[in-house]
């Protein structure tokens, strides 16, 4: 690995640029570099690992039991990447992807990078986007109160800084990560007063058909272990149908509904989690086509069997290609790398197929139980689109669920891009990451259409903000100057 620590250390152009240093990106970059390709891996975090293996090389959490064996597997993936001859830029954000207008032929991109307050445009012949997943927005009344945060944010604080939430903590929602985090936080000494499970009871029936595969899947052992651990040691409340955070100026309690029964649980921290969805902002801004996946109930990029997107030369691997978990992410990353290496002409199709074959069968095994989990943890409608009109759904612009519903029905707004013009939802600094799925859901419910028909935001670059000064001082490379003059 060659660390790139300043903007002028980048080469003019790379054969392959990989964006995101989680298991998918690390594996993709390593595989391509092992095959002799000039690779650059960039990530905005200070150290490799992505979300699952966050801070794997730097975490202050010393007790290996706390984060568990699955976490520490990340060390091997990072070690392999470090042995490979790939460039790596930490703390580097990619803010734009566009076609390279100066390229004579073939697949070529111009990408905008920013490092240490300086920006630059460089070339890339192939791109693999491995920017992973994000938590599905989980808007409930009171979720903007101090003391309420996402489970993912709590996990970042734990992994990178060994910070455990203060006081009485409640976790609420559904999905494997919720139980994992409950276990991790409990082991790290958090005071967990309850785990509120919102998994709709009816989902068990819907998922039953997918049970046989799940029983043969690697998820099973892990999942049962997590679940059993959480259930054994913690107060576990199932069948939660309604949830609100309450308090004056800060969280004081969680109001919980289970059918007609209500309960108020006093707490200092409420951690919310409603599963994860692919983080599509970058692939969307790059112009890749996406489809609505009914099983995972989210937008996923349209991909071929090398994880190539609808834009030739851009591949998407890891959870960004559809939620599959860490093991599948690494495998997808390697297959995407083989695809890119093949498109670069370094190996032929037969060789690509040969190398991909064992990866593909492992991938199939790794994903075997997925459908069961997707069906089981499909969120209930009231947690996708809050029924209470006052609930804020866009935190950047403070837009409520009622406003979106009203605008959809009264003004006949049929899609999120139009909604922006009326309510500004999605126009804040988060670029719709926190409100997009909810806005789509609310419009669909209000107009009696489906999320697939409603569509999603057209995202605008820069995908991550760059300052005016950075932009003004964009280094004009020799090639670029020539191209402009011509």
């Amino acid at each position: 690995m060659k660390a790139v620590t300043a903007i002028d250390q980048f080469e003019e152009s790379y054969d392959l640029v990989v964006v995101g240093a989680g298991p998918a990106g690390l594996s993709a970059a390593a595989r391509a570099a092992e095959l002799g390709i000039g690779v650059l891996l960039v990530d905005e975090n200070p150290a490799p690992g992505g979300q699952i293996y966050r801070a794997i090389t730097t975490t202050p959490v010393g007790d290996r039991e706390v984060l568990g064996a699955d976490y520490w597997r990340g060390a091997e993936i990072v070690a392999r990447f470090e042995r490979a001859q790939a460039g790596y830029a930490a703390r580097c954000t990619l803010w734009s992807i566009g076609p390279d207008e100066t390229a004579a032929e073939g697949e070529a991109f111009e990408i905008g990078l920013s490092l240490d307050g300086r920006a630059r445009l460089i070339g890339a012949r192939q791109l693999i986007l491995t920017t992973g997943a994000q938590e599905r927005p989980f808007p409930i009344p009171g979720w903007t109160l101090p003391g309420v945060m996402t489970a993912g944010a709590a996990q970042i604080a734990l992994k990178s800084a060994a910070i455990v939430p203060a006081g009485r903590t409640v976790l609420a929602g559904c999905g494997p990560l919720l139980y994992l985090l409950a276990g991790q936080l409990a082991a790290a000494g958090a005071e967990i007063v309850a785990v509120l499970d919102t998994t709709p009871r009816g989902n068990w029936l819907k998922a039953a058909g997918a049970l046989p595969n799940f029983l043969r899947s690697p998820y099973l052992a892990k999942g049962l272990r997590l679940m059993a651990k959480a259930r054994r040691s913690l107060r576990f409340v199932g069948g939660v149908t309604g949830l609100a955070a309450e308090g004056e100026g800060r969280l004081a309690s969680a109001r919980v509904a289970r059918g007609d029964a209500a309960e108020i649980i006093a707490c200092d921290t409420l951690l919310l989690h409603q599963g994860v969805i692919p983080s599509v902002n970058l692939s969307n801004a790059a112009g890749c086509a996406h489809d609505f996946d009914e099983a995972q109930h989210c937008w996923v990029p349209r991909l071929d069997n090398w994880f190539g997107s609808s834009v030739p030369g851009i591949a998407i691997a890891g959870d960004g290609a559809g939620i599959g978990g860490a093991e599948s992410a690494a495998l997808r990353g390697e297959i995407a790398a083989l695809g890119a290496v093949r498109r670069l002409g370094q190996i032929d199709l037969a060789e690509g197929d040969r190398q991909a074959a064992p990866l593909r069968s492992e991938l199939e095994r790794a994903l075997r139980g997925r459908r069961f989990l997707d069906l089981l943890y499909k969120p209930a409608p009231q947690f996708l689109a809050p029924p209470q009109d006052e609930t804020i759904i866009c935190r950047c612009e403070e837009v409520t669920a009622g406003q979106v519903r009203d605008t959809a029905t009264r003004l006949g707004v049929t899609g999120p891009n139009q909604m922006k013009a009326f309510l500004r939802c999605g126009m804040g600094p988060c670029q719709g990451r926190l409100c997009g799925p909810t806005v789509v859901e609310l419009i669909a419910q209000a107009n009696g259409t489906t999320p697939a028909e409603v569509g999603y935001y057209r995202l605008r670059p820069p995908v991550k903000p760059v300052t005016l000064a950075e932009l003004a001082a964009l280094q004009q490379t020799e090639a670029a100057v020539k191209a402009v003059v011509r």
């Binding site: 734009s96 566009g98 076609p99 207008e101 111009e110 905008g112 445009l121 112009g287 003004l411 006949g412 707004v413 049929t414 899609g415 139009q418 922006k420 013009a421 009326f422 500004r424 126009m427 600094p429 670029q431 605008r460 670059p461 820069p462 903000p465 760059v466 300052t467 005016l468 000064a469 932009l471 003004a472 001082a473 964009l474 004009q476 670029a480 402009v484």
Partner: protein
């Protein structure tokens, strides 16, 4: 609900602000109208522009239309039942040198002679009162006090909704594929079937040349992709919209503190894909101008950049008025990156021409004949 009509008095092609405005004004005059839009109303230039409602520095040939429009903008809520986010804090043209200022004076004097009084010369003191952030060295400029800005998509959709309320049939997702003449009737073939009307308005924006060419009136329309950037919020520091004499820059701070930066730099438009490609080098130049002129902006994050697909004519003037070839055909396109302000008024004048065959508002110099007929 009865089935949507397939014939009407007037068919309008294009659901931008121009098509929607013309549809509304025709409906207000009692005509039956069908508007055909391939995407959704305001999907293109009309929904993504800078929202500048500007009379300042317009070509004289457009000023009469622009005057009609400005009067409508100032009572836009009455017209379309939505204020369209319209605010009027004036637009200011900044002169950076004495020579610039002399040119400004000549322009204002010329307008006065022609009977137009919306532009007013201002000295350095008034300039700095209006735009405190501007450099001490700027000797003055021109202000158009009734100018302002509105929210583009909201405005376009307000026209659409009002037209609908007045009985117009607005068909979104309907793409016009071919136009032909059937006696005195236009037959408009689309992806959902044929539509018929004796009168047809070509308001198809950056695609209007195709319709015109179909009808034997080819025009040298250039498809451009003007780019814009918007910043994170800053404390309020500027009220009017600012444009520069010497440099490509337009600048507007919204009520929420964000600043819209434009300058007429164009990216690349892929009109068949409904897509644009940004040119970051040009945006860097655009940012560089702001860096020079407004030092307090240097550290602010740019949160979004985009481009819209727009039609530009070689003389930067629209094609507006009856066809030079056929009765019952009207053109309304080619607004060359400044047609948003003209939308409300152009629709009113077009509806008048369609209904009565004439208008008192002069539109000389805007006809399609300037491109389709050889100079004598």
């Amino acid at each position: 609900m009865s089935a949507a009509p397939t014939s009407a008095d007037v068919i309008v092609i294009g659901g931008g602000i121009h098509g929607c405005s013309t549809a509304l004004h025709c409906a207000l005059r009692g005509a039956s109208v069908i508007l055909l839009e391939k995407d959704h109303a305001g999907r293109h230039a009309s929904g993504v522009n800078a929202g500048g409602v500007r009379q300042l520095a317009r070509h004289v040939a457009e000023i009469p239309l622009s005057n009609v429009s400005m009067a409508l903008w100032h009572r836009i809520g009455e017209l379309v039942d939505d204020d369209c986010g319209f605010t009027s804090d004036g637009q200011v043209l900044v002169a950076e040198t004495e020579e610039d200022l002399a040119n400004c004076k000549a322009r204002v004097d010329d307008l006065t002679l022609r009977g137009f009084h919306h532009e007013e010369l201002i000295d350095g003191k008034e300039l700095r009162r209006l735009v405190p952030a501007v450099s001490e060295s700027c000797p003055g400029g021109v202000i158009s006090r009734r100018d302002g800005a509105a929210i583009p998509l909201r405005a376009t959709q307000a026209f659409k909704r009002k037209a609908q309320e007045q009985g117009a049939s607005i068909r979104e997702g309907v793409r016009v594929e071919k136009v032909s003449r059937d006696g005195k009737t236009w037959r408009v073939a689309t992806n959902v079937g044929d539509f018929l009307a004796p009168r047809l308005v070509n308001a198809a924006g950056a695609w209007a040349d195709r319709i015109a060419a179909d009808l034997g009136e080819p025009v040298p329309l250039e498809v451009i992709a003007p780019m814009l950037m918007i910043t994170a919020p800053l404390p309020a520091f500027i009220k009017p919209v600012v444009i520069m004499v010497r440099r490509k820059l337009s600048f507007k701070q919204f009520g929420n503190g964000t600043v819209l930066i434009g300058g007429g730099y164009s990216g690349r438009a892929l009109r068949d894909e409904n897509r644009t490609v940004l040119d970051w080098r040009k945006l860097a130049t655009n940012a560089g101008t702001v860096w020079d002129l407004f030092p307090l902006m240097r550290g602010v994050p740019i949160v979004r950049a985009w481009a819209g697909i727009e039609a530009r004519m070689p003389d930067d003037l629209p094609v507006f008025g009856p066809s030079a070839r056929y009765e019952g055909l009207y053109h309304q396109f080619g607004f060359s990156a400044h047609g948003f302000q003209l939308g409300p008024g152009a629709g009113a004048v077009m509806a008048e021409i369609i209904a009565t065959g004439r208008s008192n508002v002069p539109i000389d110099g805007l006809g399609i004949a300037r491109f389709t007929q050889q100079a004598p």
